[in-house]
Symmetry: C2
Subunit: 186 residues, 2 copies
Amino acid sequence: MTPDDRRAQLLALGVETLAERSIDDLTIDAMAERAEVSRALLFHYFGSKEGLHHAVVLAARDGMLHATEPREDLAPLDRLEDTLDRMVGFVRSHRGTFHALVRGASSGDASVRELIDEARDVNAARIVAVFVELGEPDDGALRLVLRAWVAFAEELLVDGALGTAIPAEELVAMLVRSARAVVAAR
Amino acid sequence: MTPDDRRAQLLALGVETLAERSIDDLTIDAMAERAEVSRALLFHYFGSKEGLHHAVVLAARDGMLHATEPREDLAPLDRLEDTLDRMVGFVRSHRGTFHALVRGASSGDASVRELIDEARDVNAARIVAVFVELGEPDDGALRLVLRAWVAFAEELLVDGALGTAIPAEELVAMLVRSARAVVAAR
């Protein structure tokens, strides 16, 4: 294995850990034990506990953004529905990861919180693009309301996709309707 | 001054500090210097840095909930508008405090995050009560969508009430419309 492969393997294990437990439990010691590697190797790759957290949250976040990459060949509303459908799928198959990403705000580490804020920015830009293509003016009010809708969607996904047995298509339809509703009500 | 008065005074100073800087900066040392008291006295009142954080966030949170206590004598939609009007006022006059409360999730401390979650529960129960009185069935879908709307409102208040010069009445009207819209779209 190359050092890069090794690092990627450790990151994948970190993301897996994040899916099951709080980020506070993601320590160098716990990782060393779980990965059956030396603490020195982990310090070599990540520098510190903070470095490990940053790298793991970055990997989890980019996994989520990649898994929900909008299909630009679809018409705006179809694209929104398709993206949200994959988001519900991601949330349900990576339960703890999504929770950690949304509540990753719950990290005391400012650089980790920044990663989460960037993901929110990407998701807000994606939904803004849908409504601009649908003919809405690309202004402050649209951005304000859709950035807030991203927080709405995150909460609905944490509560609705993780806590309940609501069918995916109902959640997706509810999210699409709510986005259109808050845009119309802005 | 009685010990209780003394403690309340220290808490008020802590809330003031929270309005200006990150919770990470709210240390026993910084508080001792600012309050011109001994570190020993702060340890006596709060036990630890975590104890100080918990007590300060609790005081800030209860200040916010008290300042936005719904007026039960008003009809549901008037009450919602009145509550939100006071919320926008609170956010604007206690800028950093509200930000700290919403992003207080950003505390690495689980007991602090719990205080914030409880505030969200209170705000969700308040908005659910409005719509139940308006005749909506008090079921899982209503609660799901309105709890998510609380996250929407928090984000809109952080972005819209702090970052921009949107008049309070416009923000309030936008929040009322968005709540009705997501309820109708659920």
